[in-house]
Amino acid sequence: MSGQKARRTDWYALSWRVPLIVWQGLFFVGPLLFMIAMSFFIVKNYRMEAAFDWGNWIKTLGRPIFWDSYFLTLRLAFGATILTTLFAFPASFFLSFHASETFRRWAVFFLIIPFFTSYLVRIFAWQVILAQQGVINAGLSLFGLGPYTMLNTMFGTMIGYLTLCLPLAVILQTFALNGVDRRLVEAAHNLGCGKFHTIFAVILPLAKTGFVVAAVFCFILSFGDFVAPYYLGGSKPPTLSIMIIDTSKSGQQWPRAAVVALMMIVTLMGVAFSAIAYAYRRRR
């Protein structure tokens, strides 16, 4: 509110501002800050005690297995992001540029459904489908192929990540492409740019921000997911998320788990900020 009204306290305005600040302050910012503190606590006789001790950081970051796991997780998440982006694009391109309005509505609706089906149940279904004697190998054996080992491999992990990310990526990419000014596409054709070339010369540069946002979400989801690498990838070697579970669930080593979690947050922030900076980069 402007002018004179701002001078006295606007209780109406404040009362709408307070709930979010209080709740997210107490139960979102609070826990995250506490986790930073917790990473310096010590554990004695399976009980956590407040302290300021760098031991957890030194021990956790000093172990090669942490770094193995760290780079594995990074590689897996980047791989999943690239695969998802590539696999989603033809679909989102079709939905945005070739499908009818009705078809697009229904497609988006169906792509939302997976978010509300249990991810665990879907991963369990993949376990059964991809198993050595599972549906796919049984199907392939009819053609005299296989059996192929798909569970407990990188392939399995990727199937899980795609299950998690693909619907979201298609939806976000479709929205991004819908935001592309069709007149610019026509202008490109008018200036002699072929249909296929226009995708790279005009459509993708225009939809860049949306595509980067979609990719960042894929990265966040797969970087933090423990279900796919555990149940489909066999947890060999474990990713950071699995490491958090192992460390915190056995022996109450919450402080060390906090170190891993903080390393993950720093990494995520780094990736997300550079991606967003790239997406919004202004031209000279």
Partner: protein, 352 residues
């Protein structure tokens, strides 16, 4: 007469059950400035888009220099267009926008850079070549769009209401830029607009469209002096339209009495005719032919011209246009009736 560059041969465009263009025939001459005018929804933009290949005609043929364009993809044609929204690529700077068409034609980087900069210089915005387009003013963006379309040296340029987003003073300046360019380059401009002043100021010929059909084609003078039907007469706007019944011998019975026109219709048929506002005169006493008693309602000054609005006895509004100087000399006041006069040869019989 020069050979037609573009021929539209009975072109029909349907969108579902809606017929946007109803079989138009049009020859566009090499090197002319052709304006296509009409109210929104008349099919003018659809016609232009068919020329650019952005829409395929449902029926009929479009030929450019004798070759059919139908079925040719937009990017295979050399029919650049300037969009109403300009459609500049926001992720490219001014120079890169201009280079785009050359890049698509596989022109070498050095050559296309030089040609793009030449064109930007020619349009007076060379110093802004490296600016992102969203940091340019409306007039500068306009020039980038023009340069982008012209850099490939096409034989024809399509313009879709390119000046409609500009401020009034910029419109006048861009009109001058456009007419000068068109004369210098000698290429064909097809200019879609809903603005009469733009069309009349720039075009060699004007096409007036209505409801998917061509109502009239002609020079500005022809359309202004001799509107072919009521739609054109009303659309041009500077006309007084009279309706009545033909009495034979050029006489028409109207609510203002019997008026005389040049032209003949069978006795007893309903007729309408128009008289341009600047071909009407004002006098204190009735003259021998075609005098209508009316009272002054208001006056409107535009530049050195004044338009006077009168009300006839039956309530009909009539307009008279004259130079401001002649207006000052008139003995006018709103309390007294005056007489509006026109010569029979200035009354144009309308087709419907």
């Amino acid at each position: 007469m020069r050979q037609p560059l573009v021929v539209l041969d009975n072109v029909v465009k349907r969108f579902g059950s809606h017929v946007a263009v109803k079989g138009i025939n049009l020859e566009i001459r090499e090197g002319e400035f052709l304006a296509v005018m009409g109210p929104s929804g008349c099919g003018k933009t659809t016609t232009l888009r068919m020329l650019a290949g952005l829409e395929d005609p449902s029926e009929g043929d479009i030929r450019l220099a004798g070759q059919s364009l139908v079925g040719k993809s937009p990017h295979e044609r050399d029919t650049p267009m300037v969009w109403q929204s300009l459609a500049l690529f926001p992720f490219l700077n001014a120079r890169e926008n201009v280079e785009f068409g050359l890049k698509m034609r596989k022109v070498e980087p050095a050559a296309r850079r030089r040609r793009a900069l030449d064109w930007l210089d020619r349009l007076g915005i060379g110093e802004f070549a490296e600016r992102p387009v969203d940091q340019l003013s409306g007039g500068q963006r306009q020039r980038v769009a023009l340069a982008r379309a012209l850099v490939t040296e096409p034989r024809i340029l399509l313009l879709d209401e390119p000046l409609s987003a500009l401020d009034a003073h910029l419109v006048i300046r861009m009109q001058a830029v456009l007419t000068k360019l068109q004369k210098e380059l000698g290429i064909t401009f097809v200019y879609v607009t809903h603005s009469q002043s733009e069309a009349f100021a720039m075009a060699d010929r004007i096409v007036i469209m209505s409801k998917g059909e061509i109502a009239q084609i002609g020079t500005a003078r022809e359309i202004y002096r001799a509107p072919i039907n009521r739609f054109v007469a009303e659309f041009v706007g500077r006309n007084n339209i009279f309706t009545g019944t033909s009495q034979g011998g050029g006489h028409v019975e109207t609510p203002f009495g019997t008026l005389t026109v040049s032209g003949e219709r069978a006795k007893g048929t309903p007729v309408s005719f128009s008289v341009a506002a600047d071909l009407m005169s004002v006098s204190a006493t009735p003259t021998a032919t075609n005098s209508i008693e009316a009272q002054l309602l208001s006056e409107e000054f535009v530049g050195s011209m004044v338009t006077l609005f009168f009300e006839a006895k039956d309530g009909t509004e009539l307009k008279v246009q004259m130079p401001e100087r002649s207006f000052a000399a008139l003995p006018l006041d709103t309390s007294r009736s005056v007489y509006l006069n026109f010569a029979p040869e200035n009354a144009q019989l309308l087709k419907d």
